[in-house]
Protein backbone atom coordinates (compact mmCIF):
# COMPACT_ATOMS: atom_id res chain seq x y z
CA UNK A 1 0.00 0.00 0.00
CA UNK A 2 1.44 3.34 -1.09
CA UNK A 3 0.30 6.51 0.68
CA UNK A 4 -0.72 9.40 -1.56
CA UNK A 5 -0.32 12.23 0.92
CA UNK A 6 -3.26 14.56 0.80
CA UNK A 7 -5.31 12.25 -1.40
CA UNK A 8 -5.56 8.77 0.04
CA UNK A 9 -3.83 5.51 -0.65
CA UNK A 10 -3.00 3.38 -3.62
CA UNK A 11 -2.66 -0.37 -3.92
CA UNK A 12 -1.41 -2.04 -7.04
CA UNK A 13 0.35 -5.04 -8.54
CA UNK A 14 2.00 -5.91 -11.82
CA UNK A 15 0.26 -8.49 -13.96
CA UNK A 16 2.07 -11.22 -15.88
CA UNK A 17 1.37 -9.23 -19.06
CA UNK A 18 3.34 -6.29 -17.64
CA UNK A 19 0.41 -4.02 -16.79
CA UNK A 20 0.11 -2.35 -13.43
CA UNK A 21 -3.41 -2.73 -12.09
CA UNK A 22 -4.56 -1.10 -8.90
CA UNK A 23 -7.04 0.89 -6.94
CA UNK A 24 -6.76 4.40 -5.52
CA UNK A 25 -8.83 4.90 -2.39
CA UNK A 26 -9.48 8.57 -1.88
CA UNK A 27 -9.92 10.02 1.59
CA UNK A 28 -13.61 10.65 1.04
CA UNK A 29 -14.11 6.97 0.18
CA UNK A 30 -14.21 7.27 -3.61
CA UNK A 31 -12.51 4.45 -5.45
CA UNK A 32 -10.66 4.64 -8.71
CA UNK A 33 -9.58 1.67 -10.79
CA UNK A 34 -6.26 2.27 -12.52
CA UNK A 35 -4.71 0.31 -15.35
CA UNK A 36 -1.27 1.20 -16.64
CA UNK A 37 -0.07 1.42 -20.19
CA UNK A 38 1.72 -1.67 -21.43
CA UNK A 39 4.96 -0.04 -22.54
CA UNK A 40 5.32 2.11 -19.41
CA UNK A 41 3.89 0.52 -16.27
CA UNK A 42 4.69 3.71 -14.34
CA UNK A 43 2.06 5.56 -16.34
CA UNK A 44 -1.67 5.17 -15.97
CA UNK A 45 -3.49 4.53 -19.24
CA UNK A 46 -6.96 4.55 -17.76
CA UNK A 47 -8.35 5.58 -14.43
CA UNK A 48 -12.00 4.91 -13.84
CA UNK A 49 -13.92 6.33 -10.90
CA UNK A 50 -16.27 3.72 -9.43
CA UNK A 51 -19.34 4.23 -7.26
CA UNK A 52 -20.07 1.78 -4.45
CA UNK A 53 -22.50 -0.17 -6.60
CA UNK A 54 -20.14 -0.31 -9.54
CA UNK A 55 -17.35 -1.52 -7.29
CA UNK A 56 -19.38 -4.44 -6.03
CA UNK A 57 -20.60 -5.23 -9.54
CA UNK A 58 -16.99 -5.39 -10.73
CA UNK A 59 -15.91 -7.38 -7.71
CA UNK A 60 -18.72 -9.87 -8.40
CA UNK A 61 -17.71 -10.21 -12.02
CA UNK A 62 -14.17 -11.02 -10.98
CA UNK A 63 -14.91 -12.98 -7.81
CA UNK A 64 -17.75 -15.30 -8.79
CA UNK A 65 -16.13 -17.05 -11.78
CA UNK A 66 -13.12 -17.67 -9.58
CA UNK A 67 -15.30 -19.41 -7.01
CA UNK A 68 -17.17 -21.36 -9.68
CA UNK A 69 -14.00 -22.62 -11.31
CA UNK A 70 -12.67 -23.69 -7.93
CA UNK A 71 -15.84 -25.62 -7.17
CA UNK A 72 -15.85 -27.13 -10.65
CA UNK A 73 -12.32 -28.37 -10.11
CA UNK A 74 -13.29 -29.99 -6.82
CA UNK A 75 -16.30 -31.74 -8.35
CA UNK A 76 -14.58 -32.99 -11.46
CA UNK A 77 -14.81 -36.58 -10.27
CA UNK A 78 -18.58 -36.47 -9.87
CA UNK A 79 -19.97 -36.81 -13.39
CA UNK A 80 -23.17 -35.04 -14.27
CA UNK A 81 -22.72 -32.40 -11.59
CA UNK A 82 -21.89 -28.85 -12.65
CA UNK A 83 -21.39 -25.51 -10.90
CA UNK A 84 -22.92 -22.36 -12.34
CA UNK A 85 -23.21 -18.77 -11.33
CA UNK A 86 -26.65 -17.25 -11.76
CA UNK A 87 -27.38 -13.56 -11.41
CA UNK A 88 -30.20 -12.09 -9.35
CA UNK A 89 -31.01 -9.16 -11.60
CA UNK A 90 -32.30 -5.95 -10.06
CA UNK A 91 -36.07 -6.32 -10.36
CA UNK A 92 -35.96 -10.11 -10.29
CA UNK A 93 -38.92 -11.57 -8.39
CA UNK A 94 -36.50 -12.60 -5.63
CA UNK A 95 -34.73 -9.25 -5.35
CA UNK A 96 -35.34 -8.45 -1.69
CA UNK A 97 -36.84 -11.86 -0.83
CA UNK A 98 -35.29 -14.65 1.13
CA UNK A 99 -33.55 -17.73 -0.17
CA UNK A 100 -36.14 -19.97 1.48
CA UNK A 101 -38.92 -18.41 -0.57
CA UNK A 102 -37.38 -19.63 -3.84
CA UNK A 103 -37.92 -23.27 -2.70
CA UNK A 104 -34.98 -23.91 -5.01
CA UNK A 105 -34.10 -27.31 -3.60
CA UNK A 106 -37.65 -28.65 -3.87
CA UNK A 107 -38.38 -27.21 -7.29
CA UNK A 108 -35.13 -27.84 -9.16
CA UNK A 109 -33.10 -30.13 -6.86
CA UNK A 110 -30.02 -27.87 -7.18
CA UNK A 111 -28.15 -26.57 -4.15
CA UNK A 112 -27.18 -22.97 -3.54
CA UNK A 113 -23.65 -23.24 -2.20
CA UNK A 114 -22.77 -19.56 -2.00
CA UNK A 115 -23.92 -16.05 -2.82
CA UNK A 116 -21.34 -13.55 -4.05
CA UNK A 117 -22.13 -9.98 -3.14
CA UNK A 118 -19.78 -7.03 -3.43
CA UNK A 119 -16.96 -9.42 -4.29
CA UNK A 120 -17.38 -11.37 -1.06
CA UNK A 121 -18.65 -14.92 -1.07
CA UNK A 122 -21.27 -15.77 1.53
CA UNK A 123 -20.87 -19.56 1.77
CA UNK A 124 -23.76 -21.90 2.59
CA UNK A 125 -26.42 -19.21 2.92
CA UNK A 126 -29.36 -20.19 5.20
CA UNK A 127 -33.04 -20.13 4.17
CA UNK A 128 -33.50 -16.62 5.64
CA UNK A 129 -30.65 -15.15 3.54
CA UNK A 130 -32.11 -12.21 1.68
CA UNK A 131 -31.24 -11.71 -2.00
CA UNK A 132 -30.50 -8.32 -3.47
CA UNK A 133 -30.22 -7.18 -7.07
CA UNK A 134 -26.71 -7.74 -8.38
CA UNK A 135 -26.05 -10.86 -6.30
CA UNK A 136 -24.46 -13.81 -8.02
CA UNK A 137 -25.81 -17.14 -6.80
CA UNK A 138 -23.44 -20.08 -7.09
CA UNK A 139 -25.42 -23.25 -7.61
CA UNK A 140 -24.46 -26.90 -7.95
CA UNK A 141 -26.59 -29.48 -9.71
CA UNK A 142 -27.36 -31.29 -12.94
CA UNK A 143 -27.45 -29.35 -16.19
CA UNK A 144 -31.26 -29.55 -16.35
CA UNK A 145 -31.64 -28.50 -12.75
CA UNK A 146 -29.34 -25.53 -13.26
CA UNK A 147 -31.31 -24.35 -16.29
CA UNK A 148 -34.48 -24.58 -14.25
CA UNK A 149 -32.85 -22.71 -11.38
CA UNK A 150 -31.93 -19.89 -13.74
CA UNK A 151 -35.56 -19.59 -14.76
CA UNK A 152 -36.72 -19.57 -11.16
CA UNK A 153 -34.43 -16.66 -10.36
CA UNK A 154 -35.47 -14.85 -13.55
CA UNK A 155 -39.19 -15.33 -13.57
CA UNK A 156 -40.21 -16.60 -10.16
Amino acid sequence: MTPLPGLGTQQDFITASGHRVGVITYRDGRLELIVSAGEDPDKVAASVGLTGEETSALANLLGAPQLVSQLTKQQREVTGITTWQLPVAAGSPYDGRSLGETEMRTRTSVSIVAVVRGGTAHPSPGPDFEFAGGDLVVVVGTADGLRAAGEVLDKG
Binding site: L4, P5, Q10, P41, V44
Partner: protein, 411 residues
Amino acid sequence: MHTTAISLIQLGGVFFGLGVLGRLAWRIGISPIPLYLIGGLAFGQGGMLPLEGIEPFTTIASEIGVILLLLLLGLEYSASELVTGLRRSWVAGLVDIVLNATPGAVVALLLGWGPVAATAMAGVTYISSSGIIAKVLGDLGRLGNRETPVILSLLVFEDLAMAVYLPILTALLAGVSFLGGLTAVGISLVVVTLVLVIALRFGKYVSALIDSPDAEVFLLRLLGAALLVAGIASQLQVSAAVGAFLLGIAISGSTATNATRILEPLRDLFAAIFFVVFGLNTDPSAIPPVLLFALMLAVATTLTKAATGWFAARMQGLRPMGQARAAAALVARGEFSIVIAGLAVSSPAVTGELSALTTTYVLLMAIIGPVAARTVEPVARLFVHRRARRVRRGGHDGRDHDDATKSLSHT
Protein backbone atom coordinates in the same frame (compact mmCIF):
# COMPACT_ATOMS: atom_id res chain seq x y z
CA MET B 1 -22.28 56.21 2.66
CA HIS B 2 -20.83 57.43 -0.61
CA THR B 3 -17.38 56.03 0.15
CA THR B 4 -18.90 52.65 1.02
CA ALA B 5 -20.54 52.61 -2.39
CA ILE B 6 -17.23 53.33 -4.10
CA SER B 7 -15.46 50.64 -2.07
CA LEU B 8 -18.12 48.10 -3.00
CA ILE B 9 -17.83 48.99 -6.67
CA GLN B 10 -14.04 48.71 -6.54
CA LEU B 11 -14.11 45.38 -4.71
CA GLY B 12 -16.79 44.02 -7.00
CA GLY B 13 -14.80 45.06 -10.03
CA VAL B 14 -11.66 43.40 -8.65
CA PHE B 15 -13.42 40.11 -7.84
CA PHE B 16 -15.26 39.99 -11.12
CA GLY B 17 -12.07 40.73 -13.01
CA LEU B 18 -10.26 37.98 -11.11
CA GLY B 19 -13.05 35.57 -11.97
CA VAL B 20 -12.64 36.33 -15.66
CA LEU B 21 -8.85 35.95 -15.38
CA GLY B 22 -9.14 32.67 -13.44
CA ARG B 23 -11.39 31.15 -16.09
CA LEU B 24 -9.02 32.27 -18.82
CA ALA B 25 -6.04 30.81 -16.96
CA TRP B 26 -7.37 27.27 -16.55
CA ARG B 27 -8.66 27.33 -20.10
CA ILE B 28 -5.16 27.88 -21.47
CA GLY B 29 -3.83 25.36 -18.96
CA ILE B 30 -1.92 27.54 -16.52
CA SER B 31 -2.49 28.48 -12.90
CA PRO B 32 -4.46 31.70 -12.28
CA ILE B 33 -1.87 32.96 -9.78
CA PRO B 34 0.28 34.81 -12.36
CA LEU B 35 -2.81 36.47 -13.79
CA TYR B 36 -3.90 37.58 -10.29
CA LEU B 37 -0.45 39.08 -9.82
CA ILE B 38 -0.67 40.89 -13.14
CA GLY B 39 -4.13 42.10 -12.14
CA GLY B 40 -2.62 43.52 -8.95
CA LEU B 41 0.29 45.09 -10.85
CA ALA B 42 -2.11 46.83 -13.21
CA PHE B 43 -3.72 48.67 -10.33
CA GLY B 44 -2.36 50.52 -7.34
CA GLN B 45 1.18 51.68 -6.82
CA GLY B 46 2.54 52.91 -10.16
CA GLY B 47 -0.21 51.08 -12.00
CA MET B 48 -2.95 52.37 -14.26
CA LEU B 49 -5.73 52.72 -11.74
CA PRO B 50 -5.13 53.46 -8.08
CA LEU B 51 -7.55 51.69 -5.78
CA GLU B 52 -8.36 53.83 -2.81
CA GLY B 53 -10.42 53.35 0.30
CA ILE B 54 -10.39 49.55 0.32
CA GLU B 55 -6.91 49.10 1.77
CA PRO B 56 -8.09 48.49 5.36
CA PHE B 57 -10.18 45.62 4.08
CA THR B 58 -7.71 44.22 1.57
CA THR B 59 -4.83 44.35 4.07
CA ILE B 60 -6.60 42.21 6.65
CA ALA B 61 -8.16 40.05 3.93
CA SER B 62 -4.80 39.26 2.40
CA GLU B 63 -3.48 38.39 5.87
CA ILE B 64 -6.42 35.99 6.27
CA GLY B 65 -5.59 34.66 2.79
CA VAL B 66 -2.10 33.66 3.96
CA ILE B 67 -3.50 32.06 7.12
CA LEU B 68 -6.04 30.06 5.12
CA LEU B 69 -3.44 28.98 2.55
CA LEU B 70 -1.29 27.55 5.33
CA LEU B 71 -4.19 26.15 7.35
CA LEU B 72 -5.41 24.17 4.35
CA LEU B 73 -1.91 23.03 3.60
CA GLY B 74 -1.75 21.64 7.14
CA LEU B 75 -5.18 20.06 6.78
CA GLU B 76 -4.17 18.37 3.55
CA TYR B 77 -1.74 16.03 5.22
CA SER B 78 -2.40 13.97 8.31
CA ALA B 79 0.35 13.73 10.89
CA SER B 80 1.04 10.11 9.98
CA GLU B 81 1.38 11.04 6.32
CA LEU B 82 3.85 13.73 7.29
CA VAL B 83 5.91 11.25 9.28
CA THR B 84 5.95 8.60 6.54
CA GLY B 85 6.62 11.30 3.95
CA LEU B 86 9.57 12.47 5.99
CA ARG B 87 10.87 8.94 6.34
CA ARG B 88 10.44 8.10 2.66
CA SER B 89 11.90 11.21 1.12
CA TRP B 90 14.34 12.82 3.50
CA VAL B 91 17.34 12.18 1.27
CA ALA B 92 15.62 13.64 -1.78
CA GLY B 93 14.26 16.36 0.51
CA LEU B 94 17.73 17.43 1.56
CA VAL B 95 18.91 17.42 -2.06
CA ASP B 96 15.86 19.56 -2.81
CA ILE B 97 16.84 22.14 -0.17
CA VAL B 98 20.47 22.35 -1.27
CA LEU B 99 19.73 22.56 -4.99
CA ASN B 100 16.79 24.93 -4.91
CA ALA B 101 17.44 27.25 -1.99
CA THR B 102 20.95 28.08 -3.20
CA PRO B 103 20.06 29.90 -6.47
CA GLY B 104 17.72 32.34 -4.72
CA ALA B 105 20.20 33.08 -1.96
CA VAL B 106 23.06 33.57 -4.43
CA VAL B 107 21.11 36.01 -6.59
CA ALA B 108 20.03 38.04 -3.55
CA LEU B 109 23.64 38.26 -2.39
CA LEU B 110 24.81 39.20 -5.91
CA LEU B 111 22.29 42.02 -5.89
CA GLY B 112 23.72 43.15 -2.56
CA TRP B 113 20.48 42.76 -0.65
CA GLY B 114 22.08 41.29 2.46
CA PRO B 115 21.75 38.00 4.32
CA VAL B 116 18.14 38.43 5.49
CA ALA B 117 16.84 39.00 1.96
CA ALA B 118 19.03 36.11 0.83
CA THR B 119 17.28 33.84 3.35
CA ALA B 120 13.93 35.01 2.02
CA MET B 121 14.92 34.47 -1.63
CA ALA B 122 16.23 31.00 -0.72
CA GLY B 123 12.73 30.15 0.44
CA VAL B 124 11.13 31.71 -2.63
CA THR B 125 13.07 29.53 -5.06
CA TYR B 126 12.96 26.43 -2.84
CA ILE B 127 9.27 25.95 -2.24
CA SER B 128 7.24 24.28 -5.00
CA SER B 129 3.60 25.13 -5.45
CA SER B 130 1.68 22.16 -4.12
CA GLY B 131 -1.54 23.86 -5.29
CA ILE B 132 -0.46 24.08 -8.92
CA ILE B 133 1.20 20.66 -8.89
CA ALA B 134 -1.79 18.84 -7.39
CA LYS B 135 -4.13 20.52 -9.87
CA VAL B 136 -1.94 19.71 -12.87
CA LEU B 137 -1.45 16.07 -11.82
CA GLY B 138 -5.20 15.70 -11.39
CA ASP B 139 -5.98 17.36 -14.72
CA LEU B 140 -3.50 15.19 -16.58
CA GLY B 141 -4.87 12.02 -14.95
CA ARG B 142 -1.54 11.18 -13.41
CA LEU B 143 -2.71 10.53 -9.85
CA GLY B 144 -2.33 6.79 -10.36
CA ASN B 145 1.13 7.06 -11.88
CA ARG B 146 4.04 5.64 -9.98
CA GLU B 147 5.91 8.94 -9.84
CA THR B 148 2.98 10.61 -8.10
CA PRO B 149 3.67 9.23 -4.59
CA VAL B 150 7.29 10.32 -5.06
CA ILE B 151 6.22 13.85 -6.00
CA LEU B 152 3.70 14.07 -3.19
CA SER B 153 6.09 12.89 -0.48
CA LEU B 154 8.62 15.46 -1.66
CA LEU B 155 5.93 18.13 -1.34
CA VAL B 156 5.19 16.85 2.16
CA PHE B 157 8.84 17.26 3.04
CA GLU B 158 8.87 20.80 1.65
CA ASP B 159 5.86 21.70 3.73
CA LEU B 160 7.49 20.46 6.90
CA ALA B 161 10.60 22.39 5.95
CA MET B 162 8.37 25.46 5.61
CA ALA B 163 7.12 24.96 9.17
CA VAL B 164 10.69 25.22 10.40
CA TYR B 165 11.78 27.87 7.91
CA LEU B 166 9.01 30.44 8.41
CA PRO B 167 9.66 31.04 12.14
CA ILE B 168 13.37 31.44 11.39
CA LEU B 169 12.63 33.96 8.66
CA THR B 170 10.22 35.79 10.95
CA ALA B 171 12.89 36.00 13.64
CA LEU B 172 15.50 37.24 11.15
CA LEU B 173 13.10 39.85 9.79
CA ALA B 174 12.43 41.07 13.30
CA GLY B 175 16.16 41.79 13.41
CA VAL B 176 17.32 39.33 16.03
CA SER B 177 20.98 38.45 16.46
CA PHE B 178 22.61 35.28 15.17
CA LEU B 179 22.13 33.70 18.59
CA GLY B 180 18.50 34.76 18.57
CA GLY B 181 18.19 33.15 15.15
CA LEU B 182 19.57 29.90 16.53
CA THR B 183 17.10 30.07 19.40
CA ALA B 184 14.30 30.56 16.88
CA VAL B 185 15.49 27.45 15.01
CA GLY B 186 15.51 25.47 18.24
CA ILE B 187 12.10 26.68 19.36
CA SER B 188 10.48 26.07 15.99
CA LEU B 189 11.93 22.56 15.75
CA VAL B 190 10.65 21.75 19.24
CA VAL B 191 7.22 23.22 18.51
CA VAL B 192 6.86 21.37 15.20
CA THR B 193 7.87 18.08 16.82
CA LEU B 194 5.49 18.72 19.71
CA VAL B 195 2.58 19.45 17.39
CA LEU B 196 3.33 16.32 15.35
CA VAL B 197 3.34 14.20 18.52
CA ILE B 198 0.11 15.84 19.75
CA ALA B 199 -1.49 15.33 16.34
CA LEU B 200 -0.42 11.68 16.23
CA ARG B 201 -1.49 10.85 19.79
CA PHE B 202 -4.26 13.30 20.63
CA GLY B 203 -5.40 14.47 17.19
CA LYS B 204 -8.92 13.34 17.88
CA TYR B 205 -9.28 15.63 20.92
CA VAL B 206 -8.15 18.65 18.91
CA SER B 207 -10.60 17.63 16.19
CA ALA B 208 -13.40 17.14 18.75
CA LEU B 209 -12.84 20.67 20.03
CA ILE B 210 -13.46 22.06 16.55
CA ASP B 211 -15.91 19.57 15.11
CA SER B 212 -19.62 20.12 14.95
CA PRO B 213 -22.35 18.45 12.90
CA ASP B 214 -23.72 21.90 12.12
CA ALA B 215 -21.88 23.38 9.14
CA GLU B 216 -22.26 26.97 10.32
CA VAL B 217 -21.00 26.29 13.85
CA PHE B 218 -18.16 24.22 12.40
CA LEU B 219 -17.09 27.01 10.05
CA LEU B 220 -17.15 29.62 12.80
CA ARG B 221 -15.19 27.46 15.24
CA LEU B 222 -12.68 26.52 12.58
CA LEU B 223 -12.06 30.04 11.37
CA GLY B 224 -12.09 31.35 14.93
CA ALA B 225 -9.52 28.80 16.06
CA ALA B 226 -7.33 29.47 13.01
CA LEU B 227 -7.29 33.24 13.52
CA LEU B 228 -6.77 32.85 17.29
CA VAL B 229 -3.85 30.47 16.87
CA ALA B 230 -2.37 32.57 14.06
CA GLY B 231 -2.74 35.76 16.06
CA ILE B 232 -1.17 34.29 19.19
CA ALA B 233 1.66 32.77 17.15
CA SER B 234 2.26 36.13 15.53
CA GLN B 235 2.31 37.81 18.94
CA LEU B 236 4.94 35.27 20.05
CA GLN B 237 7.00 36.11 16.93
CA VAL B 238 6.53 32.61 15.49
CA SER B 239 4.71 33.81 12.33
CA ALA B 240 0.94 33.68 12.00
CA ALA B 241 1.18 31.41 8.98
CA VAL B 242 3.03 28.71 10.87
CA GLY B 243 0.49 28.80 13.68
CA ALA B 244 -2.27 28.15 11.18
CA PHE B 245 -0.25 25.44 9.47
CA LEU B 246 0.37 23.59 12.74
CA LEU B 247 -3.30 23.86 13.68
CA GLY B 248 -4.11 22.31 10.32
CA ILE B 249 -1.80 19.38 11.05
CA ALA B 250 -3.32 18.85 14.49
CA ILE B 251 -6.83 18.58 13.06
CA SER B 252 -7.19 15.10 11.65
CA GLY B 253 -9.44 12.44 10.20
CA SER B 254 -12.91 13.21 8.93
CA THR B 255 -12.83 16.61 10.66
CA ALA B 256 -9.91 17.55 8.44
CA THR B 257 -11.69 16.36 5.30
CA ASN B 258 -14.82 18.34 6.18
CA ALA B 259 -12.78 21.37 7.16
CA THR B 260 -11.02 21.31 3.80
CA ARG B 261 -14.31 21.14 1.96
CA ILE B 262 -15.79 24.03 3.93
CA LEU B 263 -12.73 26.26 3.79
CA GLU B 264 -11.66 25.76 0.18
CA PRO B 265 -13.92 28.45 -1.31
CA LEU B 266 -12.94 30.87 1.46
CA ARG B 267 -9.28 30.19 0.85
CA ASP B 268 -9.66 30.75 -2.87
CA LEU B 269 -11.33 34.10 -2.22
CA PHE B 270 -8.92 35.42 0.38
CA ALA B 271 -5.83 34.00 -1.32
CA ALA B 272 -6.87 35.75 -4.54
CA ILE B 273 -7.04 39.02 -2.58
CA PHE B 274 -3.61 38.24 -1.15
CA PHE B 275 -2.08 37.80 -4.61
CA VAL B 276 -3.71 40.97 -5.87
CA VAL B 277 -2.53 42.95 -2.86
CA PHE B 278 0.98 41.62 -3.37
CA GLY B 279 0.79 42.76 -6.97
CA LEU B 280 -0.66 46.08 -5.87
CA ASN B 281 2.24 46.71 -3.53
CA THR B 282 4.77 45.83 -6.20
CA ASP B 283 5.90 48.78 -8.25
CA PRO B 284 5.84 47.71 -11.93
CA SER B 285 8.67 50.13 -12.71
CA ALA B 286 10.91 48.08 -10.37
CA ILE B 287 10.55 45.02 -12.60
CA PRO B 288 12.74 45.90 -15.63
CA PRO B 289 15.94 46.22 -13.55
CA VAL B 290 15.45 42.76 -12.02
CA LEU B 291 14.03 41.09 -15.13
CA LEU B 292 17.32 39.57 -16.19
CA PHE B 293 17.89 38.11 -12.72
CA ALA B 294 14.35 36.72 -12.66
CA LEU B 295 14.95 35.03 -16.01
CA MET B 296 18.26 33.59 -14.82
CA LEU B 297 16.61 32.32 -11.65
CA ALA B 298 13.76 30.82 -13.63
CA VAL B 299 16.12 28.88 -15.90
CA ALA B 300 18.41 27.80 -13.07
CA THR B 301 15.68 26.68 -10.69
CA THR B 302 13.73 24.91 -13.42
CA LEU B 303 16.83 22.81 -13.93
CA THR B 304 17.57 22.33 -10.22
CA LYS B 305 13.98 21.37 -9.39
CA ALA B 306 13.88 19.00 -12.35
CA ALA B 307 17.12 17.46 -11.14
CA THR B 308 15.55 16.99 -7.70
CA GLY B 309 12.49 15.26 -9.16
CA TRP B 310 14.63 13.13 -11.41
CA PHE B 311 16.82 12.10 -8.48
CA ALA B 312 13.87 11.29 -6.22
CA ALA B 313 12.16 9.21 -8.91
CA ARG B 314 15.37 7.42 -9.75
CA MET B 315 15.86 6.54 -6.10
CA GLN B 316 12.43 4.89 -6.09
CA GLY B 317 13.41 2.81 -9.11
CA LEU B 318 11.19 4.45 -11.69
CA ARG B 319 11.83 4.11 -15.41
CA PRO B 320 13.22 6.97 -17.53
CA MET B 321 9.79 8.24 -18.57
CA GLY B 322 8.58 8.28 -14.97
CA GLN B 323 11.76 10.09 -13.94
CA ALA B 324 11.14 12.70 -16.62
CA ARG B 325 7.53 13.21 -15.54
CA ALA B 326 8.53 13.59 -11.88
CA ALA B 327 11.23 16.09 -12.88
CA ALA B 328 8.87 18.31 -14.84
CA ALA B 329 5.95 18.08 -12.43
CA LEU B 330 7.85 19.63 -9.53
CA VAL B 331 8.99 22.77 -11.38
CA ALA B 332 6.00 25.02 -10.59
CA ARG B 333 6.43 27.72 -7.93
CA GLY B 334 3.51 29.80 -6.82
CA GLU B 335 1.51 30.67 -3.76
CA PHE B 336 4.10 29.91 -1.08
CA SER B 337 6.88 31.79 -2.81
CA ILE B 338 4.60 34.82 -2.70
CA VAL B 339 3.74 34.12 0.95
CA ILE B 340 7.45 34.16 1.82
CA ALA B 341 8.13 37.30 -0.22
CA GLY B 342 5.08 39.00 1.30
CA LEU B 343 6.41 38.24 4.76
CA ALA B 344 9.86 39.52 3.80
CA VAL B 345 8.92 42.85 2.24
CA SER B 346 6.71 43.72 5.20
CA SER B 347 9.95 44.24 7.10
CA PRO B 348 12.04 47.38 6.60
CA ALA B 349 15.17 45.19 6.68
CA VAL B 350 14.37 43.92 3.18
CA THR B 351 14.39 45.96 0.01
CA GLY B 352 11.12 46.42 -1.85
CA GLU B 353 12.84 45.22 -5.03
CA LEU B 354 12.52 41.72 -3.62
CA SER B 355 8.80 41.80 -4.30
CA ALA B 356 9.43 42.88 -7.90
CA LEU B 357 11.90 40.02 -8.38
CA THR B 358 9.60 37.49 -6.72
CA THR B 359 6.58 38.65 -8.70
CA THR B 360 8.44 38.28 -11.97
CA TYR B 361 9.93 34.97 -10.91
CA VAL B 362 6.59 33.49 -9.84
CA LEU B 363 4.96 34.84 -13.01
CA LEU B 364 7.47 32.84 -15.00
CA MET B 365 7.48 29.70 -12.84
CA ALA B 366 3.71 29.43 -12.49
CA ILE B 367 3.54 29.35 -16.29
CA ILE B 368 6.65 27.26 -16.96
CA GLY B 369 5.64 24.63 -14.37
CA PRO B 370 2.32 23.48 -15.84
CA VAL B 371 3.65 23.82 -19.40
CA ALA B 372 6.67 21.66 -18.52
CA ALA B 373 4.44 19.05 -16.88
CA ARG B 374 2.24 18.91 -19.98
CA THR B 375 4.99 18.80 -22.59
CA VAL B 376 7.49 16.56 -20.82
CA GLU B 377 6.21 13.30 -22.26
CA PRO B 378 6.65 13.93 -26.00
CA VAL B 379 9.97 15.67 -25.37
CA ALA B 380 11.28 12.91 -23.13
CA ARG B 381 10.05 10.26 -25.56
CA LEU B 382 12.06 11.91 -28.31
CA PHE B 383 15.07 11.79 -26.06
CA VAL B 384 14.59 8.16 -25.03
CA HIS B 385 13.93 7.38 -28.68
CA ARG B 386 17.17 8.90 -29.84
CA ARG B 387 19.15 7.22 -27.10
CA ALA B 388 17.46 3.99 -28.03
CA ARG B 389 18.55 4.31 -31.65
CA ARG B 390 22.08 5.03 -30.60
CA VAL B 391 22.09 2.00 -28.34
CA ARG B 392 20.60 -0.09 -31.11
CA ARG B 393 23.25 0.95 -33.61
CA GLY B 394 26.29 0.33 -31.49
CA GLY B 395 25.29 -0.83 -28.05
CA HIS B 396 25.14 -4.29 -26.60
CA ASP B 397 23.55 -3.53 -23.24
CA GLY B 398 20.69 -5.98 -23.12
CA ARG B 399 18.47 -4.00 -20.78
CA ASP B 400 18.78 -0.77 -22.72
CA HIS B 401 18.09 -2.62 -25.91
CA ASP B 402 14.93 -3.99 -24.43
CA ASP B 403 13.80 -0.49 -23.48
CA ALA B 404 14.63 0.66 -26.95
CA THR B 405 12.52 -1.88 -28.78
CA LYS B 406 9.65 -1.14 -26.45
CA SER B 407 9.69 2.58 -27.01
CA LEU B 408 10.22 2.14 -30.73
CA SER B 409 7.33 -0.21 -31.11
CA HIS B 410 5.15 2.34 -29.40
CA THR B 411 6.06 5.42 -31.39
